[in-house]
Amino acid sequence: MLRTLRALPTLLGVGLSEAVAYRAEFLVWLLSTNMPLVMLALWSAVARGGPVGRFGQPDFAAYFLVALVVRLLTGAWVIWELTYEIRNGTLAFRLLRPVHPLLAYACENVAAMPLRLALSLPVALVFFLAVGHSHLTSDPLLWAIFPFAIVGAWLITFLAMSLVGALAFYVESAGSIFEIWMGLFGVFSGYLVPLDLFPKPVTALARLLPFRYMLAFPVETAIGLLGRGRVLAELGLQWLFVGVIGALALFAWRLGLRRFAAYGG
């Protein structure tokens, strides 16, 4: 445990220099997170004639710009590396190190945070110029909770990817399973449509699924759609999901490693 802690700064350093070394690729990868902007354009067109539900044009702008920032901060790509390394057998190298591979992946991911923050800044700037801060919540408690909501959202994203990635120990098409997960994410996380605009039963269903806590929850907290009580309750639920999905991921990982034969490596 102590050894792992001592390795952390180095792991983070390596991750950061990797992200800087492949900055062009990193930039392209982040540019492909353009869906919120497309949806913003679309919903603005819809709201041109008057507000939709409780969303007017500026509300949509606030929602999708914050969604873009949250997505930039919480995105992860571990599943592609994981399935690739399991299939190719190169995972064996990671297993030789005295650090849990999932932790190493997590460090690589977190280490890119300065770059992600740098890319989120222009979005935030556009936000203040185009929408103004009146569309953000002014409650200091909510702002204190917001970082935890972001960390929780990132953890769910990362752990779910690890869980599905660990399935690559068993099946070859873990990628397709993840595609289904992403499809569900698109609808139930509020990525394409703010969850409020769905019919009531769908909104209620979304509250029971993990997807909402990966995006809509932090976004709605920041733009002040939720009251204090709701935010606290949902934060608890979010971290419950983190715990459950984390435990499942570790379990699947441990079971899967037994089958790992490093073929082709």
């Binding site: 492909s32 497309v38 603005s44 067109a45 397709s176």
Partner: protein
């Protein structure tokens, strides 16, 4: 010409044989494609649940655009993507030499190298969406409009293919382009909406940089009988110019190919 047709037939047969080996995957991917088509209707349903029309497009008309989007996606993922991803692999490993040595045009060989026949599900789904849309409108498109629509479909496929050839040409210079394909798919996703919905910068990008309007909105307008002949002619001209440009860039950049591993 006949030789190339025969070659195309051979390549198609090889891909089909390969696909038939993995029957379970065939079924799984087919079902997945069907799921995606239905699932991608959700945002459309929500939008039109709140409004009868958006930027002058009724639900049924937007459904026609969605039909073209599904068709184009089938073409992209079934006929264009698989071959061109394998070229990138060839370039990186240096095995493109074997392709270049063959006595046929290299661009033709690399672009027909691999097909994924189960993407035909997407084509069927696209046609089904047309069926539903026009059934709900209570009228059927006139024959000249259908012809116009399919001429534009050909143009769209050519434009899509040319963009890909340009991406591949980039691969001769900057070996790693996997991410570029990812970026392209993410942009292409916006084609499911009528292009007139977008304004300002997005509209410029979607009309001239990545001609999404040409790929789905114009064919839909043609099928709805709202596209004049001039725009059709201009689209054909534009697609032809684009293809010529891509061909020239391809010829230029293949001259830069320096077999990676030898």
């Amino acid at each position: 010409m006949r030789r190339y047709l025969a070659l195309l037939f051979v390549q198609l047969r090889a891909s089909t044989a390969l696909a038939l080996q993995y029957r379970v995957e065939f079924l799984g991917e087919g079902l997945l494609a069907l799921f995606w088509t239905l699932w991608s209707l959700v945002p459309l349903l929500v939008v039109y649940g709140h409004r009868p029309a958006v930027a002058g497009w009724s639900f049924d008309e937007a459904l026609v655009v969605m039909g073209w989007f599904t068709l184009m996606k089938g073409i992209l993922e079934g006929a264009v993507n698989p071959s061109l991803t394998s070229v990138v692999e060839h370039i990186r490993k240096g095995t493109l030499d074997f392709v270049l040595l063959k006595p046929a045009d290299a661009q033709f060989l690399v672009s027909t190298a691999k097909f994924e026949p189960w993407r035909a599900v997407d084509l069927a789904a696209g046609l089904a969406l047309f069926g539903v849309a026009f059934h709900r409108m209570g009228r059927w498109p006139a024959l000249p409009d259908v012809v116009k629509g399919f001429v534009l479909l050909a143009c769209a496929a050519v434009a899509l293919y040319s963009i890909w050839i340009l991406v591949i040409a980039a691969a001769f210079y900057v070996v790693k382009v996997d991410n570029l394909s990812f970026l392209f798919s993410s942009i292409f996703d916006a084609a499911r909406w009528p292009s007139t919905v977008f304004r300002g910068a997005w509209r410029l990008i979607f009309t001239f940089v990545v001609p999404l309007a040409l790929m789905t909105t114009y064919p839909a307008l043609a099928l709805l009988g709202r596209l004049d002949l001039l725009t059709t002619a201009l689209s054909v001209l534009g697609a032809a110019l684009f293809a010529t440009f891509a061909r020239l860039v391809w010829l230029r950049s293949i001259g830069h190919y320096t077999s990676a591993s030898s």
